[in-house]
Subunit: 428 residues, 2 copies
């Protein structure tokens, strides 16, 4: 089989240029590995005349991504524009309708429209692949879809937004408050045009929803992800968590329980000596747990030209080799409707309170917790130091609803200063 | 496509029984994911009447694995007997000759006969897959073959023998000498029937040679792996390395240089705070570095029923889905002959010497190192404590040949007690 596989690439930012570089620079290697040449037929982007560090003159040009997606000389439409709707979605739909395979890095589009697109791909009998949409260069989608296909997956976890992990580890390392590090990250160009996508956990939540669909064989349910950003993580909590042997990560957790799937993306304490706890800077990590394999940990760069282009090219090579796997692991029509767990499963929690220096204050807190069935695993009270005394509590596993009720009462009693902080602890 | 995929499973030890359990227990899931049922047609092992915790009565039985491999009702021959030659090799050859796909966990067979078997598979036009042969449940073969297919791989590293990592971390944790922990591991049943396969680095060397073939597109070259076991790692070195910020791992490294590929499996110092350095117990880790993706780290259980069966089933699912990838990533005939690097590339080294309490002793050592062009990065001399003083030296990168020459001279001088220890340091 020496028929070339012809790509149409929409979006020529960092990742698009990276893909062009690999196709140009590794042509022989790709042909040897795929059994056929990989060629670029045409490309397109918003601006034509811009130096992207690659020679685009051999390729056709399309201003309109829909036209690019439908070109006769394109076998695989590579969508690297981003945006959940608009041209990205319209062009992917057009490509699928025209019977083209699609490779995309677009997590927002898949998180919001994954089911419809998967059904369109199945109807057309073409692959729709998206390794680059989740955790950059880490081949975690492939691991879940294929390598671990013999497992009933029980839990997927991940630190999947490098910017957030950078901010949290930088706060800890430099002892700086969130606002200062956020401004640093902004100045360094680490943040999306809308920073809420990063620090609000939305981008990472998109990725979790995608992995979760594969893991549990149900329709992508981004709306079902409990989202909490890192904006309110304080340097105090980072320090105090460290005192107790934990680090705070923006952690995504999707797990299957008896009554449905729980998905959350929120600041979470993990043991400092666990692989997740040891993760520094912008690196990503995905943890997959299956009934047969136990725990698999995958770690690597979550963004950037090379890693993301590597993921795109892995998908392109699969298509060139004729490997076809259902979009989310099973035919889209058979994906179960999202079944959200009615009640959140119990977790250990970290609580931080400030107590005024009054006799019996600590006993009162412990009593309220006890009245809600929450037992204390460890507690540490610091010096009053002239003012309020920080108190740290690590609870035994308890349900968030019980904890909320208890915290509501604790927040109301007069010797508690400010609002108590509560963060989940994830055993890993 | 609802034609079942029919397996013939040879070898019903832990892994074989694990595969049967998954096929039986996850039948619906496997059918949904693969688009067709996975069935077991026949099985075989040395002993028929033994309780393996699974019901084998629905399946055909073959005493002779070659006969099993050739059965008309077998589509995929699953070889889980082990042994580089003998029945394993004969039956895999028979299966390929009969046009059956093969899945195997047999690292020794692939390390020694991988090229001939890959050519046989290509000639027959059938897949030969072996995820379970390397690092148990970690989908690292898939990552290299497929997920990272867009990369020129520059280096592959791995801790791929759980028993050795158990022994080394147990020595460190309990402060016990090698011989004691070796006997413990023996009593616990952690070692192969021939323990040299484990502690001599042979088993891990087989795995490295397999990954290396895929990574660098050359024929499997187990003979080209520089092998050193862990038998001579002392608790002293583990402690001293720790003092300098390192841990000792049985580390495999395969890297491509200008003049060929270097492969080694030997006790190596890695930074204590790196993912490799943080690896405890029997867990495995594979690190893959590519020109586009940067560094990817994969971690998981390297052995055991569930993890290994998970890897076997990943391969089975790929075959059921019709995914065909060349055995070592490119057609076997086009794999380059093994090109071994003529000279080993420079590495930082850890040296441990014992010096008698004589004036100028340390200066003499430093002078000899300097005369061989070896410069010292860090040095630490401990108390003489009445007798010989341990001296630790971390060198800047130097070539092993230069170091050997220097150590030869240092060993000869009278104030050096015993033989100097030298271990490579791998920056990770």
């Amino acid at each position: 089989m020496t028929t070339p596989l012809r790509l149409g690439i929409a979006g020529l930012g960092t990742v698009g240029a990276g893909v062009v570089k690999i196709v140009q620079g590794q042509a022989d290697l790709l042909e040897a590995r795929c059994g056929r040449p990989i060629r670029i037929a045409a490309v397109g982007a918003r601006t034509r005349n811009r130096d992207r560090g690659v020679d685009l003159s051999p390729y056709g040009w399309e201003d309109d991504p829909v036209a690019l997606a439908k070109r006769d000389d394109v076998d695989v439409y590579v969508e690297l524009m981003g945006g959940s709707d608009g041209p990205a979605k319209a062009s992917v739909e057009a490509a699928l309708a025209a019977g083209k395979a699609v490779v995309t890095a677009n997590k927002a589009m898949l998180a919001l429209h994954g089911q419809a697109l998967a059904e369109a791909a199945d109807a057309a009998g073409v692959p729709l692949r998206f390794e680059a949409a989740v955790a950059g260069g880490i081949p975690c989608v492939k691991a879940l879809l294929e390598g671990l296909a013999g497992n009933r997956v029980t839990r997927v976890m991940g630190v999947m937004n490098g910017t957030c992990n950078y901010i949290l580890t930088r706060m800890e390392g430099a002892g700086l408050p969130y606002d200062d590090v956020f401004r640093e990250a902004l100045d360094l160009g680490y943040l999306e045009a809308d920073p809420t996508l990063d620090v609000g956990g939305i981008d990472a939540g998109h990725k979790l929803a995608i992995l979760s669909a594969i893991a549990f064989g149900q329709r992508v349910d981004f709306e079902g992800v409990t989202l909490q950003g890192i904006e309110r993580v304080s340097i105090d909590d980072i320090r105090r968590a460290g005192d107790m042997g934990y680090r705070i990560k923006l952690l995504g957790v999707a797990q299957a329980g008896a009554n449905g799937v729980e998905q959350s993306m929120r600041p979470t304490l993990v043991p400092a000596d666990s692989p997740l706890g040891q993760l520094e800077g912008a690196t990503n990590m995905v943890v997959i747990e299956g009934d047969a394999v136990g725990q698999i940990v995958l770690r690597g760069a979550g963004a950037g030209e090379g890693p993301t282009a590597s993921a795109v090219m892995g998908d392109v090579c699969d298509i060139a080799r004729g490997c076809a796997v259902p979009v989310f692991g099973v035919p889209a029509q058979t994906l179960a409707p999202a079944r959200r767990a009615a009640t959140a499963s119990p977790h250990a929690h970290y609580l931080r309170l400030s107590l005024r220096d009054e006799p019996g204050a600590l006993a009162r807190v412990a009593t309220i917790l006890g009245e809600h069935g929450i037992s204390i695993d460890r507690m540490r009270q610091y010096d009053h130091d002239g003012g309020d005394a920080p108190v740290l509590i690590v609870t035994h596993p308890c349900r968030p609803a019980e904890l909320d009720a208890a915290l509501g009462r604790i927040g109301d009693v007069p010797f508690v200063a400010g609002t108590p902080v509560a963060l989940q602890i994830q055993g890993v």
